[in-house]
């Protein structure tokens, strides 16, 4: 104990400087979480009257919320698709750029990939809302290529609305992720490529046995960050459909928003938020464990 206190005293200025960021973290991250949990145990409509109801809000959420199953199913679909887009497409783009021989073309491609990231996502979703209109770009393109039978009310049909949300944002270029992978590719020693060439490895085998394992660290990080972000995401659904038609595209974030800001049920909305946090936390732990195990297998 004395030794600990001595070492703390020795590094006192370090701890003093760390106090400020920790205070911010405590105020803006930990406090809202605990306050949210506290409110989730109350029946509160925003006014002066609050009533402690224990876990009634959670009970209502898990036993009586008719939209919970659909919301979880939808968010898992969107998350899986989003991960494939955010991680898979980025990896592919980085691989293509890395293997371009011309330095100038490499540079141009990097700019080409970054520019879409500069456009706010909201602008993209609003454009896609227009594209999906019955006489919008999507249906017109389908008509042009002779696929009239596929034309439909993309955001108005309960059977295709989630698919439409998945495809919004095509070609799903993620500039930041691509650059992270590109940096990873640049770190692969040239000698390993040469050794693979000498051994007679094809491009496919080089990709599968050399490049993918060497980029496992980046993949793990991007996978985890994408998962956390996608599971709580609802801005695309909100802008495109607001959870409709007939709640077909509802996700947990929309449920939370509606219960808080439209229905005035802050306690119940907080219960949704806490449950969502727990869900994301568990999935993140699982994801980290699985990716760690597969990383150990590879090494």
């Amino acid at each position: 104990m004395r030794h600990t206190l001595k070492s703390v005293y020795k590094a006192r200025y370090l701890y003093l400087f760390l106090l400020i960021p920790f205070a911010f973290i405590a105020l803006f991250i930990f406090y809202p979480f605990f306050r949210g949990f506290q409110i989730s145990l109350l029946d509160w409509s925003g006014g002066n009257r609050t009533e402690f109801v224990g876990f009634d809000n959670y009970r209502e959420l898990f036993w009586n919320e008719p939209l919970l199953g659909r919301a979880v199913r939808n968010i898992l679909i969107l998350a899986v698709a989003g991960i494939l887009q955010a991680v898979g497409i980025s990896f592919l783009m980085a691989w293509v750029i890395h293997h371009i021989r011309s330095a100038k073309s490499k540079y141009v491609m990097r700019i080409f990939v970054i520019v879409p990231s500069l456009i706010p996502a909201i602008v993209g979703y609003l454009l896609w809302k227009k594209f999906y209109e019955p006489e919008g770009l999507v249906n017109r393109l389908l008509g042009l290529v002779g696929l009239d039978f596929l034309q439909q009310a993309w955001l108005g049909d309960v059977s295709v609305v989630v698919t439409a949300i998945v495809f919004a944002g095509f070609p799903w270029l993620n500039g930041a992720n691509t650059l992270i992978y590109l940096a990873g590719f640049l770190q692969i020693p040239k000698e390993m490529y040469e050794a693979a060439k000498i051994d007679g490895a094809t491009s496919w085998r080089t990709l599968w046995h050399l490049e993918i394992p060497m980029l496992a660290g980046q993949t793990r990080i991007l996978l985890l960050l994408s998962l956390i972000s996608l599971l709580q995401n609802y801005d695309n659904v909100f802008l495109l459909t607001r959870g409709g038609p007939m709640d077909a595209s509802v996700v947990p974030g929309i449920l939370l928003y509606k219960n808080a800001f439209l229905f005035g049920r802050y306690g119940y909305a907080s219960a949704i938020g806490v449950s969502l946090f727990a869900f994301i936390f568990i999935l993140s732990l699982l994801s980290m464990r699985l990716s760690k195990e597969s990383g150990e297998k590879v090494s």
């Binding site: 925003g46 609050t50 009310a153």
Partner: protein
Amino acid sequence: MLRLRRGSVNLLVCMALLSGLLTGCFGSSNETNEVKNSASPTTAASNESGTKRSLSGELRVVTFMEDEWGDQMRAAIADYNAAQPEVKIELESMPYANYAEALKAQMIGGISADLMLAEPAMVSAFEGADGILALDDYLNQPNPYSDSGKAWKDDFISPFLDTSRNAAGQAKLVPWSLVWVGMFYNKDAYAKAGIETPPVTWNEFLTASEKLKNAGYLPFYTAIKNNDAQTWWMFQTMLNAMFRVKTEQINLRHADGWTYKFDDPDSTNGETYTVDELYVAFKKGLIDPAKSPEYRKAVELILQMKPYFNDNLLTADGSELLSKFISQNAVQKYDGTFSFPSTDSELAKLKDEGKADRVFQWDVVNFPTITTENYEGLTAGGLNPLSGLRNGWVISQKSDNRELALDFLQFLTSPGEVNKLYELKRASKDNSLQPDASAIAGVTYPAEAKKVDAALRYAEMPIYGFGLPPVFDTGKDFEEFHSQWQGLWSEALTIDEFLQKRSASNLAALERNLKQFQDQVDQAFIDSHLK
């Protein structure tokens, strides 16, 4: 690493449980607001007694109607400052989109403005946040800025103050302007389709729509979404007409000697449905969608419109209505007096752009009424013109400047000042247009203003809010209605399924209202009628 993770999880769980335990010990509360002004409402009201006092301080006022009332509000503030030079008024404008949510969040945070413009539908959301002041005590006193000598409440056109009362019968919204909603129609398209006069009855309306369709026009463009009110206006006015015969059965607590006379619109003045009366009526099956034959009939009638609507009901958007009407993609629309200026200005723009061949004549009439041909139980008259209170003023419950806010509001709603503001409106806008009428009695409008037939023909006590679908709150019931309405129109729900779901949603909303207004609910009354 795994031990550390497990440790973190344990720590988080412990802290959460501790937080929950503390919430359990201290979580419930039923705080009453401190009266921040020194006087209680009753004392303050009796202090008013129709006499002006010299006041000082700062007041924040917020509206969402900068285009329609911005200049007039600034003029009113200048006039008020002539009477109260020590008062500083800050006028803010917020966009309409998400106005109610933003104000409610401000109310919860205790940072809302003192005086706020609001629509009747927003009031229940603000009440959930205990955000607005009940004004009955003040309304019963004379307005010191009015020459009428009557109580403040009598300066308003009846029944608009009564229709704005909340489920507990309290007046929290001071009426400001009215709106009339009617059927706009393209006169040129009517002529080409061989329709000589606009339809007056529902059957004539269906016939006219069929003629328009045969002539190659789309009779109506609508979006089954919460930003297009056309279908729910049609639905609600039908329900109001059909439920009128049950008025005495629903309004069980009324003034002594009161009786309902359907053909005397003034016979319901001063009467209002309270939440416990509506709950009793619902439980008896009078207004329960699943049990009421009138409700089913209204659904069946309105679905008769489907062949005359656009195919993309679920993907269309309410923001397209004006453009569809102007471009003659649709030749009828159900809209309000607030769209007179935009309709005319869009047509004027076409003319300026050299597209005079696309300009057309338009007019507007009351929406065609159902008759006993459509429903033989319609024995208390057909549809009333859809006119009512468009907006009003609310005062923040947490305002430190209640006295100031009340004083300015009394000044603003004095007949003399309102007349001045409407004269300003006339001077700045096209003289041929009728702006929204005032809810204050005695306002004179220019002779050249567009006349609308807004007077109520039948006595009516609205069960649902004005301008809303048939719902009992603007939160969950409102959202569920839209989802169920989409299901009905897309045929994902049968009529029976729709009625069952509506019934469940309505009942849940009424029960939430009973809880929200528990202090005003008469449980003995409910028990005595439902045993």
